[in-house]
Symmetry: C2
Subunit: 326 residues, 2 copies
């Protein structure tokens, strides 16, 4: 186990913008060691009053859409043109299964990684989705307390993590490829409806025509959706990370969104609800972890689950049977 410090030491370092201490604190919230749990909670709780002053942007899209390249260009734009301090966090629950991490490649986002106003933190692969999202959520708080005022949470648009990310960000951006055939893009159903904006990537060279056509098509499809509770109508635009094109359009979309939702109170309301949602979610996780770790449950669950799947036992009778064991 790596060296641990006192809570105050972490807090002091984070508030001073010390990146090494920030990294160590994130390692702490990522830790599954019971002994780290209390320390992590103490640190997060202490910096909490200094957190919240950022725009939290979720970015998703399937592999091949050019996510890293986009985040690098957009990140450099946010830092260079908008004077932001940017933290990039990544959730990748699939990395263990596929054997390769979206962020495992250390050479990714080179120019952003070396930018002193940027902080990039991949999630370690192989954790449960619950664990990864929990630590990402707390990492947002730590980064904000360390002075980062733009947080990008990156995820792969193929799994369950999008819903979790959607529940921790202010703005959700979906990257799409033009003309890839939508059934091939692998975006999970439901993700499109979560998007506050869609950006068609790689709109350069001979791709521009296709990108513009896709943009118009998606824009018109967006009108078919019911208006979101925020009052915001999702925007679609094209961009090229290669040519640094379309980045300011995306940023001004985000600014417009913030103006609308901070004006009508939705922004604040959403953040408060997200806080609460995470508490209930953490309670649920705690209850289930405890239940499924129970020796008797572990022993009997597999055979009972088989009976339920085969329609030999009702789902509710099976649940009662298992609940009686603890």
């Amino acid at each position: 186990m790596a060296k641990r410090f006192s809570p105050d030491k972490y807090v002091e370092g984070i508030l001073a913008g010390d990146r090494v201490m920030l990294s160590r604190a994130i390692t702490l919230v990522e830790s599954r060691l019971v002994s780290d749990l209390e320390l992590a909670q103490e640190v997060v709780n202490q910096v909490l009053p200094y957190a919240g002053n950022s725009v939290r942007i979720g970015i998703t899209g399937v592999p091949g859409v050019g996510k890293s390249t986009f985040i690098e260009s957009f990140g450099n734009y946010l830092i260079g043109e908008q004077g932001k301090k940017l933290a990039v966090l990544a959730i990748d629950p699939t990395s263990q299964r596929s054997g390769g991490s979206i962020l495992g490649d250390k050479t990714r986002m080179d120019s952003l990684a070396t930018n002193p106003a940027a902080f990039i933190r991949p999630s370690p692969a192989g954790k449960s989705l619950g664990g990864v999202t929990r630590s990402t959520r707390e990492s947002i708080i730590l980064c904000e307390a360390a002075g980062f005022d733009a947080i990008i949470v990156e995820t792969v648009g193929v799994g369950q993590s999008e819903t979790a990310v959607h529940a921790m960000v202010d703005f959700f951006l979906l990257l799409m490829l033009a003309g890839a055939g939508d059934e091939l893009q692998g975006i999970k159903r439901g993700i499109m409806e979560m998007a506050d904006a869609i950006a068609i990537t790689k709109a350069d060279g001979e791709n521009v025509g296709k990108a513009n056509a896709a943009c118009a098509e998606y824009q018109s499809a967006m009108h078919l959706y019911p208006l979101a509770a925020s009052g915001w109508m999702p925007k679609v635009s094209i961009c090229s990370a290669l040519q640094n094109k379309g980045l300011e359009t995306i940023w001004s979309t985000i600014v417009n969104y913030l103006e609308l939702t901070q004006g009508n109170g939705y922004f604040e309301q959403k953040r408060r609800n997200q806080n609460l949602q995470w508490m209930y979610e953490a309670i649920r996780q705690g209850l289930e972890e405890h239940f499924y770790a129970h020796q008797q449950v572990k022993q009997q669950l597999p055979s009972i689950a088989e009976e339920v799947k085969a329609g030999q036992k009702s789902a509710f009778a099976a649940a009662s049977e298992l609940l009686r064991l603890v």
Copy 2:
């Protein structure tokens, strides 16, 4: 408390197609009395081997879309033209809040209600969504065991109940109005993407043109969605319950869906997964009910939740604090 019978008596009656006994058994699974719980589970478990032989159709749409009228026409079509025995179950978690039930009106679906091949069962208002969906799920089993081979589960397309219904049916049909302005239709985001088919209702008289235009628009929007795991591409059609028009198109869409998914194994797989999903859901509900009923949790939750909402306490620290109480 109404009279209760032995499990065998319920089972015997249900398997003989006795509607009075079926109704009583549904009342039993709807009961919140602890003393009824075990009896209900015994009855459901005993009839389980006789259940499953039906097509389970979820139908949703906002008030005003003509849901009752549609179900009445479609139900009479299924019985009269397809020789089905039809049960209609309804989930309406909003009825208590709005003060009126979608099914409270006893004169609704008159001609269907008096059809001997139909069985209509509204959910009592005022229960929790969890309770209502649980009893609806078990009611499907009871109805199938009683010989009904087409089950319609009706819900209002404005709340959370759609996800629950989607998880208990084979086929999900969304009713929409043409030209109502989609933002006015009140369909919750995400519901459109769950639909296996959309039917534009009230396509009669001067509405036909608008309905056809909406149909084409939605059909083309559907192509923007990624293909579902079933391999099924959702279909859009128009119908008029008034003129009994378009009903056979909807039925043949359902038949095509069944042929595809029963052929490729998706149908069976989905039902098995649904069974399992309900077991895990019931376990989660059981754990949470027990936790939130705890005296200490009840006392401390409100003030802790306020701190979390206000960002004064981290969601995870709050969850740990509450979990330690039990």
